[in-house]
Symmetry: D2
């Protein structure tokens, strides 16, 4: 399944969040899961338990640095596709649209 | 501001949604806004009115093809940055993490 | 259509957000739209333009008080139901579940 | 922590989802966690493992009935409040707004 993680620390005093999310980014990069960092969240591919182990580690790392964290996990789970979907999903939309799309 | 659009038609009979979202993808590509298609949604950059004009057109196109549509618009609006943020946001996280990240 | 608004000010120095969202709550209550405040967001009922006018006013009020705001708008738009859905949706789930649910 | 669960089966042939979500509603009601059903999702209160056990059971029940499921889990986790927050959060917003709000 695909799962997008969005982690938002609250009460950070600064509007920039990247310093607060650096450890989260390293946890994702070291997880061994296929992932893609986007402008509004990071999408990972794996089964439920692997994804949720990573989500918990990321959430707890953010919570250590901040008294309140809003974490959103958006899952897209499709039984009729067995292969990797992270890149395939955008390619499929591109084929349907009949033109190249910016990624 | 950045805004991610996720449009989900309900009651499509098929689990694949790309055919239902082809027209939406073309509307985004033709909007003139900077955009990036990701595995869980498409992020566009523009001011509130430009973004919402596009969001309404996309939502209505999906609603023509389907009796029910769930649309999620996630906005990240930051006053203290004037330049384009679509690519800059991931680059900033990469610098904070101290390593390259898959995009 | 139904639309849930979730507004998150960033860089607030405090973990409590209610003082930052008081003006947003008053805008919703004064909008004339049917609404319901829940623990994770406020759902309003109205057509696209009325809902988005309110969403813009709420977002801008939060932005005046904070240099960065994350706003999420989740829309559920269903053509085959003309009457009000805000209360009807939970009642329909309750009937399907065959038991009363806490609201 | 608070966690909102939103579960959306794809490819259902009908625009009504309540029959598909009846089993999910029963799982939540039987979980022993404090919960509140709202128009756009159900919010539960518990620690990470209890919440995610329930989220997995709900997601899997929906997946048995449908070839594709989109599940969104939105977490609000705040270290500086130990008591129950499900009702307290809306009451706190109401106090800040200085008026009663529809719930």
């Amino acid at each position: 399944m695909l799962a997008e993680l969005e982690i938002v620390p609250i009460g950070t005093t600064t509007t920039s969040l990247s310093a607060h999310l650096a450890e989260v980014a390293r946890l994702v990069a070291d997880s061994g899961l296929t992932y893609r960092v986007g402008p509004m969240g990071t999408t990972v591919e794996g089964d439920w338990d692997a994804v949720m182990r990573l989500a918990k580690a990321c959430h707890e790392a953010a919570r250590q640095a901040s008294g309140r964290v809003l974490t959103t996990i958006r899952i897209d789970d499709r039984i009729d596709q067995s292969g990797p979907r992270l890149a395939a999903k955008v390619a499929s939309l591109e084929r349907a649209a009949g033109r190249p799309l910016q990624r």
